[in-house]
Symmetry: C2
Subunit: 110 residues, 2 copies
């Protein structure tokens, strides 16, 4: 296993999760670069705890980012470069998507 | 888009999510059949709302199942055929995994 695919270790709950599910459209020009940039940018935000992401061959992807509190999530949603990426995603890259904000109450790891 | 890859439509929050993240081991014999069976079995449980799943080429997968309440999650965790699948997953299929139980407080869809 390389470092990139090691699963996250997170602090003891409670903390918050943003579950972002998306179905890619056929137009994926520029998507990979943006997705990588958004992971880097998220990691610089206050209250960011980690992110995990998977996308299958059917184009359905799930990204879960973890945050210290709701204020951190709101700040990230409104971050200017992220807002621009959200708009491009809605206009071009995603055929469908949903965002769910959840409070993680308990967790167990292998 | 076919029906299988349409994203979930869920009721208005609150409801609960089980975020299951895993890294596959090299031993995946029988895994696909089990995973499909578990999705079918979950869908038969009381309080089940839906499930979404993605696994990338790096072997990291995220499955998020949604439930009406915590009691439904506890019942599913203890369901006998599911317990057997959990044991096989820990022994053979997963190099690493984590489970996080979260209360979805708000959601927005495309």
């Amino acid at each position: 296993m390389n470092a990139k695919t090691k699963l996250l270790t997170l602090p003891t709950p409670p903390y918050f999760a943003v579950i972002f599910t998306s179905k890619m459209s056929l137009d994926d020009v520029g998507y990979g670069k943006m997705a990588q940039r958004m992971e880097e940018l998220a990691a610089e935000q206050k209250g960011f705890l980690g992110v995990e992401s998977a996308r299958g061959a059917d184009g359905v992807g799930i990204t879960v980012s973890y945050w210290r509190d709701e204020a951190a999530i709101r700040a990230w949603k409104g971050q200017s470069e992220h807002r621009s990426a959200q708009a491009k995603g809605q206009a071009h890259w995603y055929e469908d998507y949903s965002v769910r904000v959840a409070k993680v109450e308990r967790a167990y790891e292998n």
